[in-house]
């Protein structure tokens, strides 16, 4: 026998096949079901109609959450590495105004770039994505090479990217966009973009080496380093991907609104973080799945829609939303303490 031919090893001990147990998403899925049922009952009591069995409403919930969802996919990766990205909302604005500026129609006299109108759809889309990618690359490089905390690095880019969007537009909306560009944001397209990205990164996290290393870095950065993982390079990739996804979200936002505005995406980063955290991703890193995040997203969507449905003020909505986010983190802490024993 030899250690280097491990398959020749002693057969004295056997390992059970992977245990069948409830997936970690089961508990938050129950929360989602519970909240939906609550609104269902309240719906019949207050409005005399169903909350859930209403195709229009379900469509609105899903459409509303699609843009946040695109951002949350990237934020999920970042949080699994035990980082944070506060810049997503501002990146949405920066990407929205840049992509919109390259999607204006030629018969609009006050176009941002009068020579660059009626461009094929690929240019505004690429430009929006590139804006996000570059800001993400900046985030990642700052975090990797200056060793400043991700909170600070992305707080800086959050403020700067918003400033850039305001400067770029002079505070004016970038409007009169081509129909072709508006098509991206129409119908179910934002949802399709979101679902495609969610599936891709679900696979990346579970089945690729990149995914394994992402969890390892979040679980113990020092151990990851000593295991030969190039932690800095990996973090740059992670933040670049998060920026890219926010850029795509910004492009979709501009297409949906058929306008690019510097005030777009305010607070999106917090909604995305909330969805990720409610979905069971640990803020201390090393734990988290895309599937949980999708359920977290639906919980947020159902709540927003449900409160409107039973005609409760937006103010209350925000207060309750705040409470739910805090409760999710408390539950996370509790789970971790239990795990440590």
């Amino acid at each position: 026998m030899g250690f280097f031919n491990p398959s020749m090893g002693a057969q004295s001990m056997t390992f059970k096949p992977p245990r069948r147990k409830w997936p970690p998403e089961a508990s938050i899925f129950l929360v989602l079901v519970g909240i939906s049922l609550l609104f269902e009952v309240l719906g019949w009591v207050i409005n005399g109609q169903s909350f859930i069995f209403n195709a229009d409403r379900l469509q609105i919930i899903i459409l509303q959450m699609a843009v946040i969802g695109i951002i949350a996919v990237g934020v999920n990766l970042v949080i699994i590495t035990s980082g944070i990205d506060l810049s997503s909302g501002s990146v949405v604005a920066a990407a929205a105004v840049v992509s919109a500026s390259l999607a204006q129609v030629s018969d609009f006299p006050r176009a941002v770039f009068p020579q660059l109108t009626d461009l094929p759809i690929v240019w505004p889309v690429l430009a929006g994505a590139m804006v996000g990618l570059l800001i993400g690359l900046l985030n990642g490089s700052l975090i990797a090479f200056t060793a400043i905390p991700p909170f600070i690095a992305t707080l800086g880019t959050m403020v700067a990217a918003r400033g850039f969007a305001k400067w770029f537009t002079n505070g004016m909306p970038v409007s009169m966009l081509t129909d072709q560009f508006a098509w991206i944001g129409s119908g179910a397209n934002p949802v399709i973009v979101f679902l495609a990205l969610a599936v891709i990164f679900h696979v990346v996290l579970r089945y690729t080496r990149f995914g394994k290393f992402t969890y390892a870095i979040g679980a113990n950065r020092q151990a990851a380093l000593v295991s030969g993982i190039n932690v800095n390079r990996h973090l740059i990739w992670i933040y670049t991907i998060a920026g890219l996804l926010s850029g795509i979200a910004g492009t979709v936002t501009a297409a949906r609104a058929i306008s690019g505005q510097s005030g777009m995406g305010v607070g999106y980063e917090l909604d995305a973080i909330a969805a990720v955290v409610i979905g069971g991703t640990s803020l201390s890193g090393g734990i988290g799945r895309i599937t949980g995040m999708v359920i977290g997203l639906l919980i947020l969507g159902v709540m927003t829609s449900g409160f409107t449905f039973i005609r409760i003020d937006a103010y209350y909505q925000e207060m309750v939303k705040g409470a739910i986010i805090v409760a999710a983190v408390v539950a996370d802490q509790y789970r971790q303490r239990k795990r440590r024993g």
Binding site: M1, F3, P6, G9, R19, A219, N220, G228
Partner: protein, 498 residues
């Protein structure tokens, strides 16, 4: 019933066990007022545990502590302080952004009639304390602006300010220059003259003869003997510290030694260690001995690129190489089991599989970015069986395993990469005797398969039992390499405390 003859501090029958190890077993110790009492022993002999018990940090499992003849219980360090026992910590415990005076009198600040801190009085008190101890430090300087030596003085002044009867100093000179050491000794003599009892932990022989009145020696968690320091020679103390029989627990099988795999010339990291030279051959185990802080682990970290060396040359299989990162070291066939399982080894919240696969994923089991999961799982399971990891399944979270089993998983992580050079830093620290013997057998067998092993260990029997040769370090320098036939504990301790 406190009569004058009763010792200031007396402990008896103290026992303290941690999971997997008995740190202290039936230990006694007696400190007289107006004396400096040195504690000596190897790493892991139990000195620090004993001090933490006296300072109230740990609660003993059994035994009695008597202060001036009266039995006492100590509920935490604060309680010990209130009862007159102060500890000066090895790691400094001062707040860098507060002033010296604020640090010393924290929680005891003098207040003015508005209930606010009276900074004038604070300053006067501190100055009076410093005058008494002949310390020349500005009470209003921020601690972060002070040198390590000055901070040490502040710590000592703080301990004295409690008017404690017992002062515990844990290697207080480790960061001091000769001049600062003599200042420290002046203060210690003054405290002794004032009737304080001082417990002094050190690894340095010459200090011991200069300052200590009595010496107590510990070994493997047991009390050995107490003697007046004037009655002892350096050799007597070393014999007392190491005088144990080597058990048969650490067998290195005789294996053919092959060619030189790793050669290191004048290796160093500026300001940390320098001038390390050795050759390591296939099938050989080179022990790396020395006291904690002698630079042993730094050598390993430099070789593996964690903190890359900036002096000297590393040659692997006859080719000069640069190693700036662990990834590079791995490409040259190296593997590194780190000293601290929790901090730099395990991914505690992840499962066993995830812990085992990280290193080898750099090299194999990946195609087009995707992990070949079935093959990898099968090989990890086989490795776990070979290493006899006790777990129902690889999906178990690693923090649910015992220390010994965690260590086996981490060894498995590296064996999957099929290393030519295996660096082990304290491979058996904190694990139980059974697992220890298994790991020793394993390392020996690996050497038999032609792996070159560099093993750092604080446990003398382990070093002597396992190593073909032993490289000894002291204060960042290599003090010698001892062949297996010449190696004994006295010889190694001499080199390690030179």
């Amino acid at each position: 019933m406190s009569d004058a003859a009763a010792p200031l501090l007396e402990i008896e029958g103290i026992r303290k066990a941690f999971p997997g190890v008995v740190a202290l077993d039936d230990v006694r110790f007696s400190l007289r007022a107006g004396t400096v009492h040195a504690l000596m022993g190897e790493n892991g002999a139990g000195k620090s545990t004993l001090m933490k018990i006296i300072a109230g940090v740990y609660t003993p499992d059994a035994g009695q502590i008597r202060l001036r003849g009266q039995p006492v219980t100590l509920n935490g360090p604060l309680d010990a302080l209130n009862q007159g026992i102060a500890m000066i910590h090895q790691e400094l415990n001062l707040m860098p952004y507060m002033t010296v005076a604020e640090n010393i009198w924290i929680r005891r600040e003098p207040l003015n009639r508005f209930g606010l801190v009276d900074h004038g009085e604070l300053r006067r008190r501190t100055q009076a304390l410093f005058d008494r101890l002949v310390i020349d430090i500005d009470p209003e300087a921020e601690v972060r602006s002070l040198s390590i030596a000055s901070r040490q003085m502040v710590e000592i002044a703080k301990a004295v300010s409690f008017d404690s009867a017992v002062l515990i100093m844990d290697e207080p000179t480790s960061a001091l220059t000769d001049k600062e050491v003599s200042h420290l000794f002046r203060i210690i003599r003054q405290l002794r003259a004032a009737g304080k009892g001082i417990v002094y932990i050190t690894h340095k022989m010459n200090e011991l003869f200069e300052i200590a009145d009595e010496v107590s020696v510990f070994r493997d968690g047991k009390y050995i003997d107490t003697q007046p320091s004037s009655a002892l020679s350096r050799d007597d103390i070393i014999r007392m510290m190491v005088g144990r029989e080597i058990t048969q627990m650490f067998p290195k099988e005789e294996v053919p030694i092959g060619d030189v795999v790793l050669a290191v010339k004048d290796l160093g990291v500026e300001g940390i260690f320098s001038g390390v030279n050795f050759e390591l051959r296939a099938g050989e185990i080179l022990g790396l001995a020395g006291l904690v802080g002698s630079g042993r682990s730094n050598v390993a970290e430099a070789l593996f690129g964690v903190v890359p060396a900036n002096q000297g040359r590393i040659t692997i299989e006859g080719v000069d190489v640069r190693i700036d990162s662990p990834a590079q070291a791995m490409r040259h066939g190296m593997a590194f089991l780190t000293e601290d399982r929790k901090d730099t080894g395990c991914f505690l919240i992840l499962d066993i599989l995830a812990n085992m696969e990280t290193a080898v994923l750099q090299q194999r089991y990946v195609s087009g970015g995707f992990v070949q999961r079935e093959q990898l799982r099968a090989d990890c399971e086989a490795m776990s069986r070979t290493l006899r990891v006790k777990t129902p399944s690889l999906d178990e979270t690693i923090q649910n395993l015992s220390g010994g089993n965690q260590q086996k998983v981490l060894i498995g992580r590296w064996l999957l990469t099929k290393p030519k050079i295996l660096i082990l830093d304290e491979p058996t620290r904190g694990i139980d005797v059974g697992a220890k013997a298994e790991i020793h057998r394993l390392v020996s067998k690996l050497a038999g398969e032609g792996v070159a092993v560099l093993m750092i260990s604080s446990e003398m029997p382990e070093v002597l039992g396992m190593s073909d040769r032993v490289l000894v370090m002291h204060e960042g320098r290599q003090t010698g390499i001892v062949e297996r036939k010449d190696a004994d504990q006295v010889r190694i301790m001499e080199l390690a405390s030179r």
